[in-house]
């Protein structure tokens, strides 16, 4: 019952904060967010599970499963549980939420109780997404994420917030619909062999080749069509080029804490779902079309990085670099090797922390300077030494400096994808080139904004940031280094959960 307790406590906290007066909402929300944080850390420390949640022979942690609605072939159940893929993401969600709440104290200065209530509601939905194992339940949480996100961007965002919010809402909603249709078509195609929407049951039936034809559509075509529909649906969330155009708008307009959640956790929903659905349930389709999928991945890596290079807004730079980093995840997943899949999952966590860190430091700089334009500022290092130090360290994490979390993740991905399938050598090489571009734009941007003579184009007093702004930055950079020094904190359980997915004859290094 621990997952239920975690979600229930978070929801109750959201309600409590929503009703609290504006003045205390921020502090109350942060204090209450420590409950799920401690809970998830406790779950991590007592975590005992093996295998992949969707495949036979797995042992899940904190699993509960009971009937919810029984209605013939469409019966639904409350089925939650954690395996090595979801446990790190649960921990990531609770950690980032608490830190993001702390980072909200400075920038959020109106309608605080509503803001913090929605943030906690968002957290509860995210915990549900990463723990649900019944498709219907999972879909409920998946869509539940959208509602607070829409309002958070639309109310507390920048000047073009309404446009950005509605764009995000429409893009992801249409994507959900496409994905929903694709998945339900698969369930109908399975016919009587599956009597519920239980994800493990469906995954095992699909892998056992029980898919029949649906009307005039044969099993082979149905598989490919469903794969495409689900891939397109999740690709919007990840986002994969060319489905990425909502992301920069949403990021630029969103307030800092919302950006942190968006880049740190929400994007991971997309790759997590890709792993759970496309790559677990229809592995042969993914493997047969690996070069095409890898092409999407590499285009995201290179194109995202190129776009970042062309930006003059610090936040846009970080936003586009997220597109680039998520491309690595796809490349690692499609490799179907031990290191590839493990590294991709690890990258979800690593990128969650690093991108959260980057958005947070950009936010702290903006709080003080009230500008994000690279050309408007220089020499900030002399005024805000700690913030700038963390920013530089985070940027090096982004570039994959050894002993940082990003290094471990990307190394595993490249090791795994190199030689995994026909042409993968070239794809891997091209993706590696992406790192060079990342290093290029980050170093260039830092050199112009952080170093040199101090100068800011606004009239605001620039000084060191407040303690509650800097503290989460320091915590995050420490976590990034911790995971870089000892990836096994999460990597062991991740490896254990992705192992069953890797075919015995997998290639790669």
């Amino acid at each position: 019952m621990w997952i239920e307790a975690l979600i229930a406590v978070t929801l109750a906290s959201a309600a409590a904060v929503f009703l609290a007066p504006n003045k205390v909402a921020g502090k109350l929300a942060f204090a209450l967010s420590l409950l799920p944080l401690v809970g998830s850390l406790w779950m991590y420390s007592t975590y005992e599970a093996s295998g992949n949640a969707l495949l036979a022979g797995s042992e899940l942690a904190f699993e509960t499963n009971f009937d919810w609605v029984v209605a013939g072939p469409y019966s639904l159940s409350w089925h939650v549980g954690l395996d090595g893929i979801s446990m790190p993401l649960i921990a990531l969600t609770t950690v980032l939420t608490s830190l993001a709440l702390l980072a909200s104290w400075t920038p959020i200065d109106e309608r605080q109780s509503q803001f913090y209530g929605l943030m906690l509601f968002l957290e509860a939905s995210l915990l549900g997404v990463f723990s649900a194992l019944d498709f219907f339940l999972w879909f409920v949480f998946w869509e539940m994420v959208l509602v607070p996100m829409y309002v958070l961007i639309g109310v507390w965002g920048g000047p073009r917030r309404k446009y950005a919010a509605i764009k995000m809402f429409v893009y992801t909603n249409i994507a959900s619909l496409v994905m929903f249709i694709g998945f339900i078509a698969l369930v109908f195609g399975l016919g009587d062999s599956v009597t519920s929407l239980d994800m493990p049951a469906i995954a095992q039936a699909l892998r056992a080749g029980e898919l029949g034809s649906l009307g005039p559509v044969g099993a082979g075509t149905l598989k490919v069509a469903a794969f495409v529909a689900m891939f397109a649906g999740f690709a919007v969330k990840v986002p994969v080029v060319p489905f990425h155009t909502w992301l920069p708008d949403a990021h630029v307009e969103a307030p800092t804490p919302v950006s942190i959640m968006l880049a740190g956790v929400l994007l991971k929903m997309g790759t997590y779902a890709l792993l759970r659905f496309n790559f677990t349930m229809l592995p042969e389709v993914a493997q047969n079309n690996a070069p095409i999928i890898a092409l999407f991945a590499v285009v995201s890596v290179i194109y995202g990085a190129m776009l970042a290079l062309a930006q003059s807004d610090l936040k846009r730079i970080v936003a586009y670099s997220s597109v680039s980093s998520m491309g690595y995840v796809i490349l690692g997943l499609v490799a179907y090797t031990l290191y590839g899949m493990g590294g991709a999952t690890f990258q979800m966590v690593a990128h969650g922390l690093i991108s959260g860190l980057m958005f947070m430091s950009v936010g702290v700089i903006y709080n003080t300077t009230h500008t994000r334009m690279v050309s408007d500022m220089s020499g900030l290092a002399s005024k805000m030494p700690i913030t700038v130090a963390v920013f530089v360290a985070g940027a090096f994490g982004y570039m994959g400096l050894p002993l940082m979390a990003g290094f471990a993740a990307e190394l595993f991905i490249f090791l795994g994808s190199f030689g995994a399938f026909a042409g993968s050598v070239w794809f891997t090489a091209a993706a590696m080139f992406g790192i060079v571009v990342v290093a290029g734009y980050l170093l260039f941007a830092m050199q112009r904004t952080l170093f040199g003579d101090f100068e800011v184009e606004t009239d605001y007093e620039v000084g060191p940031a407040a303690f509650h702004d800097v503290a989460p930055l320091v915590v995050l950079i420490l976590l990034v280094i911790l995971l870089g020094v000892d990836p096994s904190i999460f990597y062991d359980m991740i490896q254990n959960a992705v192992d069953p997915l890797v075919p015995a004859t997998g290639g790669g290094v």
Partner: protein, 497 residues
């Protein structure tokens, strides 16, 4: 069983509602000019809550699993009667509690509540009617008070005009309906639904019968605000006091469907008239056409509105279209599933739609304007009610975190299962479109900056109670959908095997 209630007690919910109406009239004759709003509203609320409790108790206790026939079999109490009784009584309770504040300056307090209770009595009777005569009488019993309720704001031109329109169309469709009944009686020689069924099985007057059935279908279309008798709905809902609009669009619509479900499936069985050897009166085809036209028209019209209340009125037409899918998917081999889907949707709809209209009532109470722009920034002044409204709207749109998603999902899944995947597809497209206009309200409330100054001096207790109760139920119906589905399946089992 140690103690057995007398069988007439099975009509308990109906009797309680009717007695409450009479009691209110007694109060009124003792003290016509009473200003004691609390007594009147309280009596009405207690009466409707008692009806809710009785229906729920009977449902849980299993009353009606063996249908109880009363009064020469003209009235039958089965699981469906009780299921819908629960819906009507719940909506009535919400509306009455909300009216306490909304009707505060009104001079016909007792009459208002008595009319609401009388209409509710008629609705519960509709769900129990087992004879075409009782169907007609109960239909009128719920319609006549409704006309008066719509026009109860005597000095308000919109209200009076709406009442007149509603009455004229109501009178017309009643005439059509009763003429259809007479034709069916002429063909089959009986008004009792089961006997009508055996009558239609061996008749060769299919032409006359067909016209009769279509006319009866027209009567139901009026009551459920479906095409082709839908055009009274936007006018009536807009002109009527908002709680009355809530009552009509939720309870009255559900009553229309309750009686339509029973009459069509019991008296004109699909296997005789549609798929049977003499299959000649294909009312399922008619229902399919009506379903497609109704939901498409409702949704497209709703998308073009400028006023929130009118948008909700058209959206309620759209929802009638969704429920019509339940009738349109009969004969597909999973009749019980699709009917249960329709009934479950009506129950969920009863709460979310009532709640949405009651939020309008709250806005009218505060003299906020009627258009989307007038709602701009309401959340800054009334965040709590705004959360509730957001729940209602997203639930109406069928977004997953709320009850509306479940019932729509099962309704469409039932249609797919019955082989009418195209109906489900049209429904799903319409449902996706509906998100556009529902989210316009959400956007106005939460995201837009306030355009004018709201004069929100008070937070009316009654309206808030009703809105919060409806919101809580709408949310709880998601985890609790299992038992709703169980009751809906039992209710559908009373009609079709």
């Amino acid at each position: 069983m140690a103690f057995q209630l007398p069988t007439w007690m099975a009509l308990g919910p109906t009797l309680v509602l009717g007695l409450t109406a009479l009691l209110l009239l007694v109060f009124d004759s003792i003290e016509p000019d009473t200003t004691n709003r609390g007594l009147l509203a309280g009596t009405a609320a207690l009466g409707s809550l008692a009806a809710v409790g009785l229906s729920a108790w009977y449902l849980v206790a299993g009353t009606g699993e063996e249908p109880i026939s009363l009064y020469q079999n003209t009235v039958v109490v089965d699981t469906m009667t009780l299921f819908f009784g629960l819906v009507f009584a719940s909506v009535t309770a919400l509306v009455v509690v909300a009216s306490y504040d909304y009707m505060r300056d009104h001079s016909y307090q007792a009459e208002y509540y008595a009319l609401v209770m009388l209409a509710a009595t008629g609705m519960t009777l509709m769900a129990a009617a087992n004879s075409l005569a009782v169907v007609f009488v109960s239909l009128e019993l719920s319609s006549l008070p409704s006309f008066a309720l719509v026009a109860i704001l005597k000095k308000n031109r919109g209200s009076v005009e709406a009442g007149l329109k509603y009455f004229l169309i109501g009178a017309l469709s009643s005439a059509i309906f009763v003429y259809g009944v007479s034709l069916v009686y002429g063909v089959t020689g009986s008004l009792l639904l089961p006997e009508v069924a055996s009558g239609v099985a061996d008749t060769n007057l299919t032409g006359v019968l067909g016209i009769g059935v279509m006319m009866i279908l027209g009567g139901f279309a009026y009551k459920t605000a479906s095409v082709p008798f839908h055009f009274w709905a936007p006018e009536a809902y807009e002109g009527a006091p908002a709680p009355v609009a809530a009552f009509l669009s939720s309870a009255s619509k559900a009553a229309g469907f309750a009686v339509a479900f029973r009459v069509l499936t019991v008296a004109f069985p699909v296997e005789e008239l549609v798929t049977g050897a003499a299959g000649s009166v294909d009312w399922v085809l008619a229902a399919q056409i009506l379903a497609v036209v109704t939901m498409t028209l409702g949704n497209f019209a709703a998308a073009t509105q400028d006023e929130v209340k009118r948008m909700l009125a058209y959206s309620s037409i759209g929802h009638a279209g969704y429920v019509l899918i339940a009738l349109a998917s009969l004969s597909g081999g999973s009749d019980q599933f699709v009917l249960a889907g329709g009934m479950a949707h009506l129950l969920v709809y009863g709460f979310m739609n009532t709640g949405a209209f009651l939020f309008i009532a709250l806005a009218e109470y505060w003299s906020v304007g009627r258009t989307f722009e007038d709602y701009n920034g309401l959340a800054t002044k009334a965040p709590f009610a705004s959360v509730a409204m957001t729940v209602f709207l997203f639930s109406l749109a069928g977004l997953p975190p709320f009850g509306g998603f479940m019932s729509k999902y099962f309704l469409f899944a039932g249609a797919v299962r019955a082989g009418f995947w195209w109906l489900a597809a049209i429904g799903a497209i319409n449902s996706a479109l509906s998100l556009y206009y529902y989210s316009r309200v959400v956007k106005a409330i939460w995201i837009e900056d306030p355009s004018g100054d709201f004069d929100i001096e008070s937070k009316p207790v009654g309206l808030y109670t009703a809105i919060v109760a409806a919101a809580v139920v709408t949310v709880l119906l998601l985890p609790g959908f299992g038992s709703v589905w169980q009751f809906a399946t039992d209710a559908a089992a009373a009609l079709v095997a």
